[in-house]
Amino acid sequence: MRALIVDDSRFIRQHMRKLLEQMGLSCEEAIDGSEALRLLREPAGFDFMLVDVNMPRMSGLECIKQLRDAGLQAPMKIMMVTTEADNSFICRALEYGADEFLMKPFTPESLREKLAMLGLAA
């Protein structure tokens, strides 16, 4: 299973990569929404994208909106991973096409549970 990690923090990307690889996923990284869209247009598909909100050039929300509007990688599950936690923001992310939401900071258990909710882990 392939995951795309989209976050402008190298530390967060490495942390998430380590956790996901321990769960058996292979990972690619993007530093913002526009790099994520470029990778998502390539033929090799992804099963799962974890995306931050506040990033330079293109935010996570704009990224998933463009992705869903263009019908790219339609079956791919999208989870927003961010410190933003207002109910109104979470609702907007779900409306734009996110499947799940994880607040930072998170534990390995909470990440694993979210993957299980999305049918990506036992």
Binding site: A93, L94, T107, E109, E113
Partner: protein, 275 residues
Amino acid sequence: MSCSDSDYDYLRQLVLARSANLIDSTRNKLFEARLKPIARGAGASSLEEFVGILRDDQSPHLHRAVAEAMTINETSFFRDRKMFDALRESILTRLIEANSAQRRLRIWSAAASTGQEAYSLAMLICEHFTSLAHWDVKIVGTDISGPVVEYARRGLYRRMEVNRGLPARQLVKYLVRHDEEWEVVPRLRSMCEFQCANLCGPLPRLPEFDLVLLRNVLLYFTPQDRNAVFRAMHRKMAPGGCLVLGASEQAEDSTNLFKAEFAKDCYFYRPVVRA
């Protein structure tokens, strides 16, 4: 804050007698981790000194605090999703059908800890059994620890807690954010009530339950205490009720008070009807 083997044995016996929780010697370090705040509060600078205070002062308050502090409070929303799937797809459906005449359902979250299991049950009912909106539904959560019960009653959870097991759509529907805490909505809170209860002691006044969740508790009890709990559960259950244990627990029940059934990857237990 270490102490001698005889001090650990004293603590082990105290906790076992008070709460039936068996802390074996491989987990001695847990005494140090969990009892440090109480020891300091009692004026002790080491665990050894604290055991000395406990031995000299037989006040029930301090002994109860030790037993409560050693209780495992690991929990999360929708912990073990397979069990909640089994409840939704099979167990609750059957119970609702059986109770359709009286339109009443009583559920016991018997080791409720900080309340996530009880509120998860309330969410499950609101989400998937909308016809129960006009039923008399009550979910009773009990726990041995007073502060833990109080926490459950408040219905306020921190970021790390709402991050565990709770789907985003249910988070925004059933909890309201206040700064760094999330509050369970009044509709769910009105379905749940919480009380202190020691499963191995005399139980408080409780109704007869259609569904009992007793998960991840019995594995810490001695066989004798497990049987005592099974007898207590049996007395508190409706004849057609269901008992659900933790995924790694089985009712190796020498009391023969329950018979096992299987639904959607999950064992549950029916009380053998009393003669």
